[in-house]
Symmetry: C2
Subunit: 656 residues, 2 copies
Amino acid sequence: MPVPQEVSLQSGTFALKKDFRISLSGEPDQRILQASTRFLRRLSNRTGLFLKQGYVTDTNFGKGGSLHIHVNRPGEVRLHEDESYTLDISRSGIRVEAETDLGAMHAMETILQLIESGESGYQLPGIEITDSPRFPWRGLMMDVARHFQPIEVIKRNIDGMAAVKMNVLHLHLTDDQGFRVESKSYPVLHQKGSDGQYFTQTELRTIVRYAADRGIRVVPEFDVPGHASSWLAAMPELGSVEGKKSYEIERNAGIFDPTLDPTNEKTYEVLAAVFKEMAEIFTDEYFHIGGDENEGRHWDANKRIQAFKNEKGFKDNHALQNYFNTRLLTHLESYGKRMVGWDEILQPGLPKSAVIQSWRGIDALVNSAQQGYQTFLSNGFYIDLMHTAVNHYKTDPLPDSVSLTDEQRKLILGGEATMWAELVIPHTVDSRIWPRTAAIAERLWSAQDVNDVEDMYRRLEIMSLQLEEHGLLHIASRDQILRKLAGGHDIAPLQTLNNITGPLQRYTRNPGGTMYQSYSPFTLWADAAVADSETARKFDSAVQAYLNDKNAKSGDYIKDQLLIWYENHEALSKIIRVSPMLKEIEGLSEQLMEVSELGMQAVYLFEKNETPDLNWLSEAEKVLKKARLQGGRTELMNVNTIEQIVRSLVKVETGN
Amino acid sequence: MPVPQEVSLQSGTFALKKDFRISLSGEPDQRILQASTRFLRRLSNRTGLFLKQGYVTDTNFGKGGSLHIHVNRPGEVRLHEDESYTLDISRSGIRVEAETDLGAMHAMETILQLIESGESGYQLPGIEITDSPRFPWRGLMMDVARHFQPIEVIKRNIDGMAAVKMNVLHLHLTDDQGFRVESKSYPVLHQKGSDGQYFTQTELRTIVRYAADRGIRVVPEFDVPGHASSWLAAMPELGSVEGKKSYEIERNAGIFDPTLDPTNEKTYEVLAAVFKEMAEIFTDEYFHIGGDENEGRHWDANKRIQAFKNEKGFKDNHALQNYFNTRLLTHLESYGKRMVGWDEILQPGLPKSAVIQSWRGIDALVNSAQQGYQTFLSNGFYIDLMHTAVNHYKTDPLPDSVSLTDEQRKLILGGEATMWAELVIPHTVDSRIWPRTAAIAERLWSAQDVNDVEDMYRRLEIMSLQLEEHGLLHIASRDQILRKLAGGHDIAPLQTLNNITGPLQRYTRNPGGTMYQSYSPFTLWADAAVADSETARKFDSAVQAYLNDKNAKSGDYIKDQLLIWYENHEALSKIIRVSPMLKEIEGLSEQLMEVSELGMQAVYLFEKNETPDLNWLSEAEKVLKKARLQGGRTELMNVNTIEQIVRSLVKVETGN
C-alpha cells in the first residue's frame, strides 16, 4: 500500500536468512546508505532475524548482496523529481533499479510490505514491479499551531509518510493559537506568541534534514493576514484595530478577527524578515502564506484602512488582500520561492507562479488549473473531521468527469491530507492521522482504477500494524487512555464500547468552537475513539451477507457480537460507578445494550421469517432514535446496520 | 509513593471542581509557575475537569487559589538543597508550604497521587503531611552508550523521576559501543565514535534545563580509561596498543581491552578539552569519570607503558590508573567540579573530594565512608538485571547493621538505579526502568521502616498507571511487540503467556555477551516480558493463602488461573504456526500447559487430602524440571509456586 502501477507475480520465493546482505551500485550517496541501514534494522525487527550485516557504509556496500540496489544518481528532494523504481524478486535474489535514490527508498518500503511467513521462516514472493506515482505532490499537513506537536511527533509521522510513499510535509506553523517557530529577527514573536511551545531553528533544520533523508519535502506555512492573533499578542502594533495595545493568544477554535494591517509598512518589514529567516531554513521552493478565512471585519472597522483601500482603488477587501499577497510574493520571489496559498488567494491579477491549495473542492481546483495555476486538493482529505477512510479514498483530485486539457491536467499536482489540530495533542494526533492517511496516500500514488474499498480496508489493517514500528501511537494511545479512565480496572468492557464508537464528525464535537479550550483535557473517551471502527465494519459486512442469505455463516457471528454488546453494559456500569470521568458514557453504554437487544430480536424475527407487530416497530424506532444520541462526544457506529435488520423485516412484510 | 515522613489523616475531603485555581506567594520564580501550569494540565487529564485556569503566569498567580503554594525562595538544583514541604488539605482548600520550589514541586506530586473518586466526582482526602527525603542523592543512571536513547526518551524519564521524587539523572555518555555527545573541540569523536547517534550540545543543554525545571540534577559520565573503544575508533592514537592504526566501535557486550594510554600527553590534552566543554554544559558540581573494569591488558602488553610505570615507581596498574585519575581530577577541579567514579577509583592517595559510586556492594560503600569519601550505592539497584522490584526494595544503603559514626553516615548520600543498556532500545527501555524504579525511589526517600512489600506492590501498580501520563511506554510497548509478533492475530494468548514469563535474569540472557549485537532485534518475545509478573505474584499469594487454609476463597481463583494457562497452548499454537518469530516459545507454551496440568492435579489431591503415589511424584519432578527451561530468552514465573503445591502434598504425607 499504495498499490504499485504494474505488478507481475513470478514463481518461486526468496527466503530471508540471517546472511541477508545489501549491496549497492551506481551512485549511492550517504542518504541511501543510511536508508539501507534502517532497512536492515526494520527487516530484523519484522522477522526476528539476527542479521550479520549491521551497517551499510561507504566502505562496505560492495557487491553481491541478496538485495542489490542500483541508483543512477542521488535524487533532489523537489517537486517532479523522478521517484520511479523497478523491483525484481526471484528465488536467487532481489534487485532494485531506480533513476534516483528516492525511487530506491520507495522500493525498500515495497519490499518490507511484501514479507510473508512461509514453511521455514519468512520469505518474499517472486514478483516483478514497475512503479511510479500518479501525482507528484502527495502531502500531509500538520497543524502545529492549534496544539503544538514537538519534534519527535513530527519525526515519527515523517517515517509513517515515507512508509506509504508520501513526499510533502506541510507544516502549518502559525495561527491564532500559537506562533510556533523561533524568530531571530523578532524573538518577541515566539516569546510572546507561543506559551513557550515552539520549534527552535535548530529543530526546524533537523526536521527538514530528517524529511529530506526520507525523500520528503517540507513546505512551511505562515498563515497571514488573518489567523494572526498570536503574531499580534507579540506585536500588537501590526494589528488592524487602531491603537489596540494588546491582543491575547486565542484559546478557542474558529475564525477570529485579529488581522495584520496591510497598510502598515512595518507589517511588511516584519514579514519580510521572518520569511527571509524561514526561507533559508526551509529549502524547498514552495512557501505557503495561508491567506484563508480573512473576513476583514477589523479592516472594515478601521477608517484609515478603508481610506487606503479607496485611495488605491481597491473595490473590496479581497482586492486589498491581493495587494498584501502580491507584496509578500515579491519578497518570496527574491528569496527564490514560489508562493502557495489557500483558495482565497486566487484573485484577479495574482501572478501565475502562485500555487493554490484547495480546501473548497474540486470545482475550485479545476478553476485554478484552467486559469493556469498549479494546484492541489485538500477538500475531501480533512482527516480532522473524523470521517471514515473510505470517504477520503473516494476523493479523486482528477476524476474523469473534469474537462481539462493535458497541459491543465499537469497543473493538478496532487493533494494533501490536512490534520487540523484544535482537538488533538501529541499523545492522540497519530490516531487521527493513521491509518486513514495511508488510504489517501494510495489515492495519490496508485492508478485511478485502484478503488476496491474492501481490499483497501484489508490492506489498511495490515499497514496500521506495520506503522507501529515507527513509534507511532495510533493504536497504543487508545488503551493508554482507557487504562487511565478505568483507574486500575480491567479495560475490556471499555474497549468493547469504544471499539464501536466514533468521535462526533465534522465540527459537531466542539460546538461553537468554545466547548473545548486549547488547554482542555484531550485524553478522555472521545480521544480514545477513532474514525474507522473495524468492529462496525465487520459487523456491517456480516449483516449484509446475512440479509442476502439467512443461512450465511455470518449469522452466528452477528448473534455473538450482539450478545457481547448487550452484556457489556453490566460490566461497564461497575467501572463507571467508580470513575467519575466515565459518567459521560453511561447513557451511551445503555444505548448499546438496548440497540443490541433490538438487534437480537430483529435477527430472531428475520431468522424465523416472522413479521413484527406495530408496537414492536414503534418501540424499535424509539430505541434506534435514542441509540443515535451522542455520549462522551462519540456516537455508536452500528446503529444504521441494526436499523437495516429492522427495516428488512418491514420489507419482507411489504413483500408479502 | 514514596511514602511521606509524617502523614495525619483529617476529617473531610476537598472536592475538585472546574473552578480549581492555583495561587502562589513568597518568591515564586518562572520554574514554579511553569510547574503549576503543568500541574493544572495533569489534574485536568486525571479528572476530566475542564479547568478554567489555563496557565499560571507571573501576571496572574494572585491570591486565594483553591491550592495555595508558599515558597520562601527559588531552590538551587544542587546536592543537599532543601526539598522539604508541608501539605495541608481540608474541606476549604489546599495549602503547600516549602522553603524552596523544589519542595513545592514534590508537594504537587503528592497531591496528584492523592486524587480519589468520591460520590460526586474527584476529591482529595483531608490530610496533613510533613515530608522530606531520607537521602539527598536519589538517582537514575541511564546508559545511552550501549544503545543510544534520544532526547525524548530522556525527557519522559525525567518526568517519571520527578513523579517519584528522584533528583539525580546520571547519564553514562560514553562506552565501548558509542561516544554519545557532540564535541566541538574534537568533532571526530562523535563523527566516528557514534554511528551518527549522539546528543548535540544544544540537546544536552536542553536536557540539563528540562531536568533542572523539575528539580533534577544531571551528572554526566565519561567512562575512562577503559570502556574506550568508541574514543579509539575516532582517535586510535590515544590507544594503549603501540602503533595500532584503527579500532572498531564494539558491537558485543562485556569488558573489552581497548584503553586510553595514560602515558600519552595527548590523552590528557583531549580529555581536558572534552571535559572543559562538558563541564560548561553540565552545570552540576559533580562529574563522573567512570574508571571501572579496566583490566589493564593493553597496558601490560605495552613495553613503553610498563617502563613508564616502573619509572614512576607504580607498583601495579591500579597505581597507574590512580595517576591517570589524579591528573583528570586536577582538570576537573580547575573547572569547579568534584570527581565521581566507580569503586575502582578508590586507591591510596585519592583526594578526599572524590566521590565513590559503589557497584560492588554495601561493604565497599561503608569502606568509602570510613575513609572519609562521599559515596552512594548502586549495587542492589541494577535494574537491567531483571530482578523483581522487591529485590531492589530490600536494598538499604544504610542498614542498621553498619557501624559508622554520625559524620560517616552523612557521607552515604543515597543511591542510583542503573539502567545499563546492552539489551534495550528506546522502545523498550521504559519497561525496564518502570515501575520498578519507583520502589527504589521510595527506598531512598521514605523512612527506613517503610518496608511492607505487599503494600509497596499495591501502590506500585497504581503508580505504574499514573506514569503513563508522561508518555512512558513501559506498559504500551509490551502490546506493541506482541501485536507485531502475532502478525494481525488476536494477541490475547500471547499476553496470557507473556504475563507469566520474565526475561532471563542477571547476565544469562546474553551468554558471553555475544548472542546479541547492538544491532540485533530487541523487539522480540523477551523484550515484551517484564521483570515483575503481576500475574505470578497474585497467583503466588493466592496459593500461600490456600495452602494455609484449603477453604480459602482463593482456591477457585487458583483453579481458574491454572485452567486458563492449561488451555492457552491450543490457541497460542495456532498463532505460532503462522508466525516464525514465535517458534522460539513453542516449548515454553507447552511447558506452561504441562505445569498447569500438574498444578491442577496437585490442587485436586490437596483438596481431597489425597496422597500422591511415587510414580506421580516422579512424573511431577520431570514436569517441574522441564518447566524451568527457558524459551525465547524468558522463563515461567509460576514454577516455584506450583512446586510448592506439589511439595505440600508430600509434607502432608510425611506428617501422617
